[in-house]
């Protein structure tokens, strides 16, 4: 095998020499890739306030180890360079510059955080180095016209909100909706997506919109005013601490609307339990990955593979943490892009292939796919609804989106 490859190379080389053209131009490289290796940078909060997310980057590294152990991609090993920014955007800029200018990586993969990704987006696009599959749901990271080297991965917040809108229109077209949202990018993305999803009916259906600040001590007054609006449906766009408060307060004041809760705050241990498990019964949310704590996946082949991977390459990491499913699935998407790139490992081709995906992944819910196009920089847009039964989230109904 090796010999034939050598002969082929020699033949190609001779052909190149004979015809005076670069016949080997089949292989194209930008800094960060060569015949043996592909350098992939990553930036995440390995220290600091958000260090719980650091496990994502470690899982990605473990998955790349697995890929390398199995022979690499098209004969090339992956060299993974994760750097710590402590969730500090100023540090992210420094780290991105280190990866691009000093380490000369082919791309920066899955940098985590909204402000951190915003901080480096302009720079990455000026340098024309891919900022690929960012770990944030902010809708702005799918803007191929203005930022052709930046692409998200997980469902954008707005897409999730559109799903809630669609479900509401299907089940309760006459509902009056109250919206509570955090006054920042995250909250505004949701509201915009929700209004788009309702379309013409948005004005008539949304009877109340109230915000809170992350610095607010409670949201009691907001909840009272939302109830007073007479709404029958409640879109709850809150981060975990406030989500628990909202669920609890709604129960206390005896308000029982159809309650949609953002996917950001579905943790049973840190939201549902403090809110009171019985208060959360009937809450709706949307999901796109298989939850490792959900018993229905026990016999699932994808779940078994994931558990085997975790045991062999990522021992010590939690097998109940959704973040490790996230990192695994994101890394698989990355590997697929590099496979598609073949021997043309340039910044431009990486983006071209990233914008040419249509695949399913073993740890995404059945029916949820990864699909991109030159004008579609949102890889995952499908999600399924889940209802809280007092113990866990139970999936139901069809897969929504796109």
């Amino acid at each position: 095998m090796k010999l034939t490859k050598a002969w082929t190379l020699l033949a190609l080389g001779l052909a190149g020499a004979v015809f005076g053209t670069a016949a080997i131009a089949q292989k194209k490289y930008d800094p960060g890739a060569d015949d043996k290796e592909i350098k992939i940078g990553q930036i995440g909060p390995y220290s600091g306030p958000a260090s719980a997310y650091g496990t994502i980057g470690k899982t990605i590294g473990a998955y790349f180890d697995k890929v390398n152990a199995e022979g690499g991609i098209n004969g090339r090993k992956l060299k993974y360079l994760p750097l710590d920014d402590g969730y500090n955007p100023a540090k992210t800029v420094e780290m991105a510059r280190k990866l691009v200018e000093e380490e000369e990586v082919l791309l920066v993969f899955n940098p985590l955080g909204t402000a951190t990704n915003t901080a480096i987006r302009k720079y990455m696009n000026e340098k024309k180095v891919p900022q690929l599959f960012t770990a944030t749901g902010a809708t702005k990271f799918g803007d191929p016209k203005n930022f052709p080297y930046t692409m998200g991965w997980q469902p954008p917040y707005a897409a999730e909100a559109r799903i809630y809108a669609q479900h509401l229109l299907e089940t309760q077209p006459g509902a009056k909706v109250a919206v509570l949202y955090q006054n920042d990018d995250f909250g505004k993305d949701y509201v915009q997506g929700f209004e788009e999803g309702l379309g013409d009916k948005a004005k008539a259906m949304i009877v109340s919109k109230v915000t809170y600040e992350v610095t607010d001590p409670t949201i009691d007054s907001q909840m009272l005013s939302l109830k007073a609006s007479g709404a029958t449906a409640f879109l709850d766009i809150t981060t975990p601490k406030f989500a628990a408060m909202a669920i609890k307060k709604a129960a206390e004041i005896g308000w029982k609307p159809i309650h949609y809760l953002t996917n950001v705050s579905v943790s049973v241990s840190s939201v549902m339990t403090p809110a009171g498990l019985q208060n959360g019964v009937g809450l709706l949310t949307a999901a796109y990955v298989k939850d490792p704590t959900d018993p229905q996946w026990q016999q699932d082949a994808g779940m078994k593979d994931w558990l085997a991977f975790m045991a062999k390459y990522n021992a010590g990491a939690s097998v109940t943490d959704n973040s490790n499913v996230y990192g695994y699935s994101a890394a698989q998407t990355m590997v697929q892009v590099l496979k598609q790139c073949g021997d043309n490992l340039t910044h431009d081709n990486v983006m071209k292939q990233a914008a040419n995906l249509d695949l399913t992944l073993p740890m995404l819910l059945p029916g949820v796919n990864v699909k991109t196009g030159p004008d579609d920089f949102y890889p995952i847009e499908r999600e399924q609804l889940a209802k809280f039964d007092g113990k866990t989230w139970v999936l139901f109904g069809k897969v929504y989106g796109r």
Partner: protein
């Protein structure tokens, strides 16, 4: 200082300056950017040193002034189209005012209580920056993305062009030199002696006719102004500000840099800045899983090796090699911190 020492100081200064001009053309852009941040931190630490090292007021909240300076520059550049260089004096004046006001309550709070009050400031500012009413200017949590200033002229040195990063480094360097010279003039004269007198014995200082409230508040203001200018320079070179960029850790880092560099030492700020900028990266290279543990070990080790900071170590070595220097008939009072005054 004797005439000879002064000559040596000038010579050293000139050499350093020449090195600073050539340096950016010898390394990669990314390194230039890092050295630029070193200068930024050096100015900030110098500001803190004026307050803590010379005047003895401990501040755990200088990250707040760094943030305000940074935001002042960013808002002016982004929303009002002010050129980057013009934002520095405004950031400085703004922070002077705020620092002066902060200095008033500081008068009533001594030692640890002042440290806590300033710590509260460091905690509050990042959250206040997200405030709804000022969001049209600050961009809320999203922050502000800036454009790097282009060099006004261009030339090549050592085969390398003057690009945006190198230009910014030279610009920052010029500002840093100005700030250091100003600090030197301020601290090596009557005012500097007053500051040290207040630090070492406030009652005696009052008895000698020093107006304690005014001097202390003004010192707080000047200190904040330095840090504010540094914050503005930092925002310009990072080309992005967001509330998360200015966490409490920044304030602590500045204090760490101050102690590592050497209390009450003007050049010490540079050593402190080198530590603040590079040691976390080194720690991260050594261990991905526990970078801050490594950082802590390095810090403790350094404190054992040089309890009076980098400048203290340099002075001690100098004194050992040149006994004559130690027998300087008139030791500069500001040079001797309380710790090793006899």
């Amino acid at each position: 200082m004797t005439a000879r020492q002064r000559r040596i100081a000038w010579l050293l200064g000139a050499l350093l300056l020449a090195a600073a001009v050539v340096l950016p053309f010898m390394v990669k852009n990314y390194r230039v950017f890092q050295f630029n941040l070193v200068l930024v931190y050096a100015i900030a630490i110098l500001g803190l040193n004026i307050l803590t090292g010379f005047n003895g007021q401990i501040s755990l909240g200088h990250g707040a002034f760094f943030a305000i300076g940074g935001y002042a520059a960013a808002v002016m550049m982004d929303r009002f189209g002010v050129p980057y260089w013009a934002t520095l004096p405004v950031a400085g004046v703004l922070c002077f005012g705020l620092g002066f006001l902060m200095g008033f309550p500081a008068l009533r709070l001594g030692g640890h209580y002042l440290a806590l009050a300033t710590y509260a400031l460091a905690l509050a500012v990042p959250q206040l920056l997200k405030w709804k009413l000022i969001e049209p200017w600050t961009g809320g949590v999203q922050g502000i993305v800036l454009s790097k200033p282009e060099p006004p002229f261009t030339f090549r040195l050592l085969g390398q062009p003057l690009n945006a990063d190198r230009w910014l480094f030279l610009f920052t360097c010029a500002v840093a030199v100005l700030m250091f010279v100003l600090a030197h003039n301020l601290l090596r004269g009557r005012i500097g002696r007053a500051l040290v007198a207040i630090r070492d014995h406030p009652i005696a200082a009052t008895a000698m006719g020093i107006n304690l409230p005014i001097v202390k508040s003004t010192t707080f203001g000047v200190s904040a102004a330095y840090t504010g200018v540094a914050g503005a320079l930092g925002a310009i070179s990072v080309a992005f500000v967001a509330p998360d960029s200015f966490s409490v850790l920044l304030s602590i880092s500045l204090l760490v840099g101050l102690v590592v560099g050497g209390l009450a030492s003007i050049p010490g700020a540079i050593f402190g800045a080198l530590f603040v900028q590079f040691v976390p990266n080194v720690a991260n290279d050594l261990s991905k899983s526990a970078p801050w543990a490594i950082y802590g070990v390095l810090l403790i080790g350094l404190m054992y090796l040089m309890p009076t900071g980098a400048m203290g170590l340099l002075r001690m070595t100098w004194a050992r090699w040149r006994p004559a220097a130690a027998l300087d008939p008139k030791p500069d009072p500001a040079l001797t911190t309380r710790r090793h005054s006899t």
